[in-house]
């Protein structure tokens, strides 16, 4: 297990470093500056601003300084949200985004695995085809369509649920639902395929022949190998949920990381965009790592 962990870290850390390097260089060589505005600053002020933010130094010096700071958890000052550091904005937004993404992941896994099992119970039956169709549509339902539609139906027409902000627990329902839908569809499909394959394998037939109850056969013998593709999907799913959260936070006006990211991107707030990209990359690599470790738990052959 430790060997897998170390081997995976050996690829994950250089990847993270490459992300930082690439986005840093891209950001700094980009035309235009965050201090561009309708009324150009006079040269002296401009020079002073550049000096304050260290933008007058050569690129390699800026990069070294930035890496050093990032290692200490300091992503620099936000250029647009004056008086805020990027780390401060991240500390504000991250808990909201993580709660949103975490709840959506749990919901998607629960719905998807349950749907996949129900479908695989009788392959080709009406329930299987119905769930298959539902999950094919769910996969194609991007959060920026589901989000507004849910708001329209449950918020504006029926007035059952709040449409924005986070004033009550009920406010989480619509955003989590919209975010979880495509992931749930993908999980259902993976579970269904994996389970249908597992059900006809020798060890499952043996378990049946031993007279075990159908439930035991399903849960103890068929499900673990069937869930392997689902677990390897955890990494991409985390990436999908994080990107989806960007839209969901914009649609529902939630004070999460994604909203800062979009605002930062639209306003050329380089330190903010860079900080959030690094954080997202780190999170996604972390999820891939967790997926690899779980993989080892489910499939003894992968422990080697």
């Amino acid at each position: 297990m430790l060997a897998i962990l170390l081997r995976r870290l050996a690829t994950a850390l250089p990847t993270l470093l490459a992300v930082i390097l690439l986005s840093f260089v891209l950001m700094r060589t980009a035309p235009g500056s965050p201090f561009d505005s309708e009324r150009p600053l006079d040269a002296a002020t401009r020079a002073a601003m550049d000096r304050t933010y260290g933008l007058d130094q050569p690129l390699i010096v800026q990069l070294g300084r930035y890496l050093g700071n990032v290692l200490q958890g300091d992503f620099g000052p936000s250029l647009v949200y004056k008086d805020f550091t990027v780390s401060g904005l991240i500390a504000q937004g991250l808990p909201v985004s993580l709660t949103l993404g975490g709840l959506a992941l749990i919901l998607a896994a629960a719905l998807g695995i349950a749907g996949g099992i129900l479908g695989a119970l009788r392959p080709g039956g009406w329930l299987d085809r119905w769930i298959g169709f539902k999950s094919a549509v769910a996969v194609a339902l991007p959060s920026f369509v589901t989000g507004p539609l849910l708001v329209l139906v449950f918020g504006l027409w029926l007035s059952w649920l709040p449409v924005s902000g986070l004033d009550s627990a009920a406010a989480w329902i619509l955003p989590v639902l919209a975010l979880a839908t495509p992931t749930a569809g993908a999980v259902a499909k993976l579970t269904r395929t994996g389970l249908a394959e597992a059900m006809v394998q020798d060890h499952v037939r043996t378990a049946r022949a031993r007279g075990l109850s159908p439930l035991t056969v399903l849960v103890r013998h068929a499900l673990p190998p069937a869930l392997i593709p689902v677990v390897s999907y955890l990494g991409p799913a985390a990436a999908g949920l994080l990107t989806g959260a960007v839209v969901i936070e914009t649609v529902f006006g939630l004070p999460g990381l994604g909203r800062y990211f979009v605002q930062g991107a639209l306003n050329r707030d380089y330190p903010l965009v860079l900080g959030v990209v690094i954080l997202y990359a780190g999170l996604i690599l972390l999820f891939n790592l967790i997926a690899d470790l779980l993989y080892g738990l489910l499939d003894p052959r992968a422990r080697g």
Partner: protein, 260 residues
């Protein structure tokens, strides 16, 4: 698969041929019919918040979205095939190094890389599809590499190698024709993914820019105005989802048929 194909053809044909037949263009403003309901005279699906015909706008948006998606998928096809075929052909260390790069890129937050590209180089349609194509080629590279690897030691390839054919001739003459069907199936599966990415970016205001329109922009505008004119959200949203579902179905059907 037949239903999906028929619906997709209907959407594409409508997007390509119908706009000139409509009384209003996608950017034309009808001052007398702002937020007109469906079935108003001249506006079958009504108009948006500034009086532009919803049907014309949806068709124009579909056209832009599909054009960007097709172009980006072709970019992905070219990069992915070249990368995967090279890795699979040479094998050994080169293969390992090239596939390690693909693995590393797989772990990246694509969407954010594209957004960084958009921020850095400004927002243009050309860049949207180049950027998306540049990050969507990974699956294609993996698939092509696997195919080439399997073909590499087949007798007819070994025979032409032994006969002294240059690598370039073998690749274009024997390998490419044999991987074409699988590559096309994956091309079909890349298109809906690109549709999603493009709509996502446009929805956030980082993709296609006004006065051009795309399904993502229309969904965004519709979401802003949905309490008064719900159709402005529902129509482009439905077209987007229907297009993606159909493309996915077709792609999966093709893949199942090609996999043999």
């Amino acid at each position: 698969m037949k239903v999906a194909g028929a619906l997709l053809v209907a959407i594409v044909v409508a997007a390509l041929l119908l706009p000139p037949l409509l009384p209003w263009g996608y950017a034309a403003i009808d001052w007398n019919a702002v937020r007109a309901p469906a079935f108003s005279p001249g506006h079958l699906l009504g108009t948006d918040s500034v009086g532009r015909d919803l049907l014309a706008r949806t068709l124009a948006g579909t056209r832009v979205t599909l054009a960007v998606a097709t172009a980006a998928a072709l970019v992905a096809l070219v990069i992915g095939t070249a990368w995967g075929a090279t890795a699979g052909w040479f094998g050994g260390r080169i293969d390992e190094a090239m596939m390690r790069v693909v693995d590393a890129l797989y772990a990246l937050p694509f969407m954010f890389v594209v957004i960084v590209l958009m921020v850095v180089f400004g927002r243009s349609v050309l860049l949207v599809f180049l950027g998306i194509g540049a990050v969507e080629w990974l699956t294609m590279a993996r698939v092509v590499r696997g195919q080439v690897l399997a073909l590499r030691n087949r007798p007819f390839i070994l025979a032409s190698e032994a006969a002294g054919a240059p690598a370039r001739a073998i690749l274009t003459g024997h390998i490419l024709p044999n991987i074409a069907s699988v590559a096309i199936a994956y091309l079909m599966l890349t298109v809906p993914q690109v549709v999603m990415v493009e709509s996502f970016l446009s929805f956030l205001g980082l993709g296609v820019q006004e006065p051009l329109t795309s399904l993502g922009i229309l969904v965004h505008d519709g979401a802003d105005d949905m309490d008064i004119a719900p159709l402005t959200l529902i129509v482009p949203g439905f077209v987007l989802v229907a297009t993606v579902v159909c493309l996915n179905r077709l792609g999966e059907g093709l893949r199942a048929r090609m996999a043999r």
